[in-house]
């Protein structure tokens, strides 16, 4: 793989090279795409045992101060006062038309302390938006320089326990600060149980070595991370979500507290309330093609008569599903499971059926 000079380099780069990683560019970073095990086996390894991901490209931002909760409540459709200490929530930054600027995980770490985990591709935009939200309030907004590792899979908890990490009592979608500069959550992006562990770069190698050295654990690259999240029906920002897509169309209304669905003080509230009241014109759906051919992002969707309906936003092969899987957007009238549509792949029609998401039985829950 060719390297582009101005890509960001992971602090643990040498470990990935030693593990035989193939690297590729993603969101301005040179990232491990796969390891010698290969994408298919990496994917299955996470579903069966535990996989270790270096996701240090993602951005942690700490909001802190007497009015940190008010800043969060302005930035996101969240009720920070209703969040218990240690509770994590999946949420969004919305623009004035309720389009999604980014999807985030926000964790309440204390009365005046919130951690935001944002996508690499949106880090700069998010930081500006969070600062805008915090500006009227007594709240600092601090981007943190951390290594972020994810350990995902049914054996993740046992591996963490054996590595001496304090995971007992940590339920899914909760987090804590186990030591100064560290941030540990039980969460993930694979549909499996698992953890994300952030730590100062100079303290990361010891834990990474300990986890990677466990015989139940394998390094997993971004390619398998993508197929794992797709099977779990989780969105990738920039593909399934963007600024022209609102949470209702994306099927993510569950992440908006009921008390905020009619409006509120958060960015995008009037537009979101209007969309909720009127209903979304299109919906994110799961799609399964007939046959073995993957139908990937960008493939147009239409009726049998050739009327355009929408677009596939993510697609590929689902190693655990055992067949190709896709997600895309369709008009509401075509979004019911069982509906037949036609995708176009390299000029040829591929019949697809709308299915319920996720494609696999999830072992984690999102809320």
């Amino acid at each position: 793989m060719g390297e582009i000079d101005d890509l960001n380099i992971l602090p643990l780069r040498d470990m990935h090279e030693a593990a035989g990683a193939k690297f590729g560019a993603f969101a301005g970073w040179s990232m491990p795409l796969s390891y010698p095990m290969g994408v298919l086996q990496e994917h299955l390894h996470v579903r069966e045992k535990a996989g270790l991901f270096d996701i240090s490209h993602m951005r942690l931002v700490l909001l802190e101060g007497p009015e940190a909760g008010r800043a969060i409540a302005r930035a996101c459709p969240l009720l920070p006062d209703a969040m218990g200490e240690g509770q994590s929530k999946y949420t969004f930054l919305l623009n004035e038309t309720a389009g999604i600027i980014d999807d985030l995980i926000v964790t309440r770490l204390g009365a005046q302390r919130f951690m935001v985990v944002a996508n690499a591709s949106r880090a700069a935009v998010d930081l500006a938006r969070l600062r805008e939200a915090a500006d009227p309030f007594d709240c600092t907004v601090t981007p943190l320089d951390r290594v972020l590792l994810a350990l995902q899979g049914p054996m993740a908890a046992a591996v963490m326990r054996d590595a001496g990490e304090p995971v007992d009592g940590l339920t899914f979608m909760s987090g804590k600060e186990p030591r100064a500069g560290w941030f540990l959550t039980r969460s993930g992006y694979t549909g499996e149980d698992g953890f994300e562990i952030a730590m100062p770069p100079d303290e990361a190698e010891a834990l990474a070595r300990k986890l990677a050295g466990d015989e139940r654990v394998a390094w997993i690259g971004l390619a398998a991370r993508d197929s794992l999240r797709l099977e779990a029906g989780l969105c990738l920002y920039g593909q399934d979500l963007d600024e022209a897509t609102d949470p209702v169309s994306a099927g993510l209304l569950w992440a908006i507290p009921k008390d905020l669905r009619g409006g509120g003080d958060y960015f995008g509230a009037p537009a979101l309330a209007r969309i909720i009241a009127e209903g979304a014109a299109r919906k994110r759906v799961g799609l399964v093609p007939e046959g073995r051919q993957p139908v990937r992002a960008g493939a147009p969707l239409g009726t049998g008569e050739g009327e355009p309906l929408g677009t596939v936003t993510s697609g590929g092969f689902g190693p655990s599903a055992g067949h190709p899987v896709s997600m895309g957007y369709l008009p509401k009238a075509f979004s019911r499971p069982g509906t037949a549509v036609i995708a176009e792949v390299r000029g040829r029609p591929v019949p697809m059926t709308v299915v319920k998401l996720p494609f696999i039985q999830k072992r984690s829950t999102q809320d």
């Binding site: 994408v39 298919l40 086996q41 990937r296």
Partner: protein, 122 residues
């Protein structure tokens, strides 16, 4: 006697008794990773050198495989419909993609032999 040639796009073409067999190199399959689908052409189709004749799809992405010479496709490797992974396990053997006639055997002169190809991929 057979002779195998290699292209800069990581295809191999093996010529035996006037028929050519085409596939992707072992180096190419390593770069692509696990294949999950191979889109095979119709037999009888005419191809020109440089045409995208086959699409191989890995978990990650779809990639074109180009015809290394002009000719007509006489057979495709149907086993790949159910076992695309044959390309990973035996790229330069059982994982062949198609057989073709050669309209102009002289086109092969511009291709590499194995030693030159191995030197190119380093």
């Amino acid at each position: 006697m057979s002779k195998t040639y290699y292209t800069e796009d990581h295809e191999w073409i093996r010529v035996e008794d006037g028929t050519a067999t085409v596939g992707i190199t072992n180096h190419a399959q390593e770069q692509l990773g696990d294949l999950v689908f191979v889109e095979l052409p119709e037999t009888g189709k005419s191809v020109s050198k440089g045409d995208a004749a086959v699409v191989v799809e890995s978990v990650k992405a779809a990639s074109d495989v180009y015809a290394p010479a002009d000719g007509e496709i006489t057979a495709v490797n149907d086993a790949l419909s159910s076992q695309p992974e044959l390309v990973n396990s035996a790229a330069e053997g059982e994982g062949w993609l198609w057989k073709m006639t050669l309209a102009d055997a002289g086109q092969l002169d511009g291709l590499m032999d194995e030693a030159a190809y191995l030197a190119m991929i380093g």
